[in-house]
């Protein structure tokens, strides 16, 4: 084990033509497209593994292909690409123009594990005595204080959560390669790059935004990402159970537009994918729970993409009940069920009260990037990254900074991948123009690490 080094400065001579911020499906696609054109690319990901939201999904619509079967090869391709460097568990604090390139200030969070010697064997995880709610499983599963984040995580290195570590030393003793580094410190890293692609993704807004849905009062009013984990073949319960007591659900409700198209919660726009992922989840649920009643409450179904309408019709043919009407109230009952009050528009406008034992709120998509201004880009009034030129949809309006995926607005996986390709082409064109103007070689770029050296 290396001794505590105190404050130290590392200097490395590294050339990065482009930095991709975000290692989700859009970021990985942009990085691969740039790297295939022989550009040196750095991918910065805030989580300990690349893969983004997509790696936690069960299946994709409308093909019902396995999501991780699509994502894992992309993750692997990026990890093994000779022109791509992955920097996981790191955040981008600022991007500033510096001459004809961009200067990025990054913070590399400590894993407390030496990634040059960790072999991902999980011996530390097996010996760790503390478990906490697993963020990858949306809190419904458990993970140990030191663990490889999930089964197909890339890179396969353990990460220690200091908030739950009792410093018992069990992981240090268990590690066969002496890779535990409890003296690691956060590192400030400065990188200079020719171009930047922002692919920072999204998160869902809170289930508690609408007080009339009483999501704080019941653990069985869940988010779609919870349900994705329940539906995943390697999900936390190994089957679909309701989180409050482990009951096999008999009547499941999907409430569409529960976090979008609603001025009262500050999300007036349509999140574009909720109709289709809810229909997909309903279809998967009807396979997992063949005897369960499944009902979708919707304002209108927006099946706009190729094959989407047929997908919707297939769901109806499978016996999934579609009720047109905005749910006004969800009232949790003492027996654990919920009563949904809704005006059935296509049934003479009568007010119905239906009982369900699991409710999924289709929440709205909001950008993960709270302050794009810090990353050199402007934002729209809805918070997504601004794209001023409709003929250059990947350009942020700032020299050398491009955007891809849901950072620019809600969209599905296919559109995110297409947009990532477009952002990579814009970045590639920009870099080629710079090279042509300044000579054949890209400028030598510096990677400066300030802080204690951890690994």
């Amino acid at each position: 084990m290396s001794p505590a080094n105190g404050q130290a400065t590392q200097q490395q001579e590294i050339r990065y033509d482009a930095v991709v911020v975000g290692g989700g499906i859009a970021g990985l696609q942009a990085a691969l497209d740039l790297a295939d054109q022989d550009y040196q690319v750095l991918v910065v990901e805030k989580q300990p593994s690349i893969g983004g939201r997509m790696i936690s999904l069960s299946k994709v619509f409308p093909t019902l292909d396995c999501a991780s079967c699509i994502t894992t090869p992309k993750m692997s391709a990026a990890a093994h690409h000779p022109n791509i460097t992955l920097m996981t568990y790191a955040t981008v604090d600022a991007i500033e123009p510096a001459g004809d390139h961009q200067r990025l200030t990054l913070t590399k969070k400590p894993r407390y594990v030496d990634t040059s010697t960790c072999i991902g064997c999980r011996l530390c995880e097996y010996e760790c005595p503390v478990e906490y709610p697993d963020p990858f499983e949306e809190g419904i599963g458990a993970v140990r204080a030191i663990a490889v984040p999930f089964a197909n995580a890339i890179p396969q290195y353990a990460v220690l959560n200091p908030d739950y570590c009792i410093a018992c030393g069990a992981c240090v003793r268990a590690c066969a390669s002496d890779a535990i580094r409890l003296d690691q410190q956060p590192e400030t890293v400065t990188v200079e790059a020719g171009a930047v692609v922002l692919a920072t993704g999204f998160h869902l807004n809170s289930t508690t935004l609408k007080p009339q849905y009483h999501a704080t009062e019941s653990k069985d009013i869940i988010s779609p990402l919870h349900l994705e984990r329940l539906l995943a073949p390697h999900g936390p319960y190994g089957r679909v159970l309701r989180p409050s007591d482990g009951k096999i659900p008999e009547s499941v409700a999907f409430v569409l537009c529960a976090g979008s198209r609603d001025q009262s919660i500050g999300v007036p726009y349509c999140s574009r994918v909720c109709c289709m992922y809810s229909i997909k989840q309903a279809m998967l649920l009807s396979g997992a729970l063949p005897t369960a009643d499944i009902t979708l409450y919707y304002m209108d179904i927006r099946a706009f993409g190729k094959g989407f309408e047929q997908f919707y019709q297939n769901a109806k043919a499978m016996g999934i009940n579609f009720v047109k009407g905005k749910v006004a109230r969800i009232a949790p009952q003492s027996d654990g069920d919920m009563v949904l009050r809704v005006e059935a528009i296509e049934d003479g406008g009568q007010v119905m009260e239906n009982r369900h034992d699991l409710v999924v709120l289709a929440q709205g998509i909001v950008p993960d990037l709270v302050m794009p201004e810090n990353l050199g880009a402007a934002r729209e009034t809805d918070g997504f990254v601004k794209r001023p030129d409709p003929l250059r949809p990947a350009w942020t309006g700032c020299e050398g900074i491009f955007v891809a995926g849901t950072a620019a607005g809600p969209k599905d996986i296919v559109d995110s991948i297409m947009e990532a390709g477009s952002a990579a082409m814009e970045a590639s064109h920009y870099l080629a123009q710079k090279r042509a103007a300044g000579g054949a070689e890209a400028p030598a770029l510096q990677l400066e690490v300030i802080g204690a050296s951890g690994d």
């Binding site: 739950y164 409050s244 007591d245």
Partner: protein, 103 residues
């Protein structure tokens, strides 16, 4: 081959403890509750396989908390699901499940 703790390891552990103090005792309380709950659930499962509401009623913990523990035990190989029981699922402690398998 497990690693034997060296003075450098002990120094790093000490530094980690010094840097991550728990003045409010939040982690201490969490870990104490976690161990207590896990022990009770294992003891209940050792007696007989049970569903989550059965375990909740035997241990006095909330069904949600019991489900979380059973989920964790399944993940780390301490419990197995032995099939549906009405609207719920029955779980067994791994030692008991293996014993039953041999029988």
């Amino acid at each position: 081959m497990p690693t034997k703790l060296t003075p450098a390891h002990r120094e790093a552990l000490k530094r980690f403890r010094d840097e991550h103090t728990d003045p409010a005792g939040t982690l201490k309380t969490y870990v104490a509750d976690f161990r207590h709950e896990r022990k009770q659930i294992i003891e209940a499962l050792r007696k007989a396989p049970a569903t989550v509401p059965e375990l909740a009623s035997q241990t006095g913990f909330s069904a949600e908390r019991v489900l979380w523990h059973v989920t964790a035990m399944r993940k780390y190989g301490a419990a197995v699901e032995i099939g549906p029981d009405g609207s719920y699922v029955k779980y067994a402690y791994i030692e008991q499940a293996k014993k039953k398998e041999k029988e």
